[in-house]
Subunit: 346 residues, 2 copies
């Protein structure tokens, strides 16, 4: 097997593989299905860092005791337009899936609604969650803190997580929704991790070493602090995410999540806030007309050769739909090894 060998899986095979691995590591079947769905979606959309590779991360989280693999989520309604799902320390995907119908119903009933996921382990991209809302015709926003790895603008000590935010917008005529998802850090933490593994220098604008100096040493920045994107504006957004998906929903800040991890190196534990808005709330029977006006904006972007946010994912999805999911043979082997370890452990 050469380093460039690839294995091709159908989505069904990938899903089966992911569920098998996750169940071997003790995930309850409903958790395994929800998590597998997210990983296979990521792999399909070319987000390899959030694809099947995350099986290794999930197994690691179970092994280190940072996740409750068979947690039973509890859905409640703290107010008429609010949903809360207590994930009881399990992965975030099942709590999201269990709360989604109620969130959708509340958004349609009241025009806007919000859902807090509490006490969940979040290791995945946020876009599948807002895409799920947009596929039901709703506008979605999602936010989650992570671990305190990112310095505020003007400082050099970590306060914020990578604090992603995601946005989904329904598009007419059977088109995939307009969806984007980005970290408020200058780059993904995984990007710095990849440079560290490859022994490559990073740009000195990505972060600071523990002494507070800009550094090109990936390991020094991982031990120091990352920077936000977009200077003080990105830092302001990182603070927004920290507040509305932390204290506002009674869940941990990134600093608290990192402290709770106690050095185990697990995925962040904490909360997520999802906001859903029903276009029919403000637009009534005019939804189709006004969605067409949004299409004119998309056309003005693409018409000048610029890319719509999220379009790379959709292009990768189209390729995957034809070719299947192609993953490195080495990754496939690693997954098989993790499966074996899970079975022996069980």
């Amino acid at each position: 097997m050469s380093a460039t060998d690839m294995i091709t899986l159908s989505p069904e095979q990938a899903d089966e593989l992911a569920r098998t691995v996750l169940q071997a590591w003790g995930l309850a079947p409903d958790h395994a299905s929800a998590v597998a769905h997210t990983m296979v979606s990521g792999e399909r959309d070319g987000c390899t860092s959030h694809g099947l590779y995350r099986l290794l991360v999930a197994a690691n989280s179970v092994e280190r005791g940072v996740v409750v693999p068979d947690a039973v989520p509890e859905v409640s309604e703290p107010a008429s337009a609010l949903v809360r799902v207590d994930g009881k320390g399990g992965f975030a995907q099942l709590p999201f899936a269990q709360g989604l119908p109620l969130l959708v119903a509340k958004a349609k009933a009241h025009g806007i609604a919000a859902m807090a996921l509490n006490n969940v382990v979040h290791f995945a991209a946020l876009w599948p969650e807002v895409e799920a809302l947009a596929e039901q015709g709703l506008v979605g926003l999602a936010f989650t803190p992570s671990h305190a790895w990112v310095a505020p603008e003007g400082g050099t000590k970590p306060v914020f997580g990578t604090n992603p935010l995601a946005f989904g917008w329904p598009r007419p005529d059977g088109q995939a929704p307009f969806v984007f998802d980005f970290a408020t850090s200058a780059v993904a933490r995984g990007e710095i991790e990849l440079h560290r593994r490859a022994g490559k220098a990073i740009p000195d604008t990505w972060g600071y070493d523990a002494q507070g100096n800009p550094s090109t040493d990936a390991e020094a920045v991982l031990d120091g602090a990352m920077r936000t994107f977009g200077a003080h504006k990105g830092a302001a957004l990182a603070a927004l995410v920290e507040l509305i998906a932390g204290p506002l929903i009674g869940d941990m800040t990134s600093a608290e999540s990192l402290a709770a991890d106690e050095g185990r190196g697990g995925a962040p534990l904490g909360g997520e806030l999802v906001i859903a808005i029903d276009p029919a709330g403000f637009l009534g029977s005019g939804v189709a007309d006004h969605l067409r006006r949004a299409e004119a904006m998309f056309a003005a972007i693409e018409g000048q050769g610029a890319r719509l946010p999220g379009s790379r994912r959709l292009a990768a999805r189209a390729v995957s739909d034809v070719q299947g999911l192609r993953i490195p043979a080495k990754l496939y082997q690693d997954i098989m090894d993790v499966l074996e370890r899970g079975k022996q452990r069980g």
Copy 2:
């Protein structure tokens, strides 16, 4: 009178002056009060570009017929957690003030609520609006498109407005709320305008000329396209603002607003979306405890010598509270001239 001469006004004098000028230009008294309050707040907080200087802009908008000075806003409830205020072509401040009590009541009743301002002329900063929500203990988000002046990342033709977003968070113990407000363009349009007037070059990262080349010529960029902040992430946010404060609420995109202006050079006409979340919705009786956890995050930022977003405004406010509002004598003279023209016109 030298170029550096300053005039000092008390807040009450400034408010009286602003109301007098606005009423001379035909604003109904309730519009004049609401607009004056915003301008005086801006001046007090050191946002001179959104302070009393805007009296000249407001008069210009009346003169060019882009605003209805005595519009009577209409408040409605399109859904149980939604408020709509049709501004009927008037300035945005009065519609906001008239819808605010209902938005607050709905957020408290349902946990989250949203308000659309439609058909309003928006020339001011957004922070006074989220600050008003935070002063009532609510978390606030506000968004508004403007005129199509900003290119998408990867393109060079204007699609987006400067598309600001604002965020407000209540703080305990009588502290002023945590509030920020920033444009998703790389810099404020007024900044480029100032360079143009001064005949100064701008950095070539601020925008493109009409041929699509990066330019250091302020006038060329004003005639071409500005850039967003934060590359593709800032552009994604600009699209978000465009969509949720445009088509989602049945109002104009920045391109439509610019087209509707028909070259009159007026302030943007269109919509604004305000979202209010009641911390008590998710936190019940735990609000005070969780707000304290947010304070720990603020302390971690300020404790390392970094500035909290919005802190410059609050520092300026503290100075104004002691010294009064100090404005250039030249501006005061310009305002007097505008007052005179308004009176002659009436």
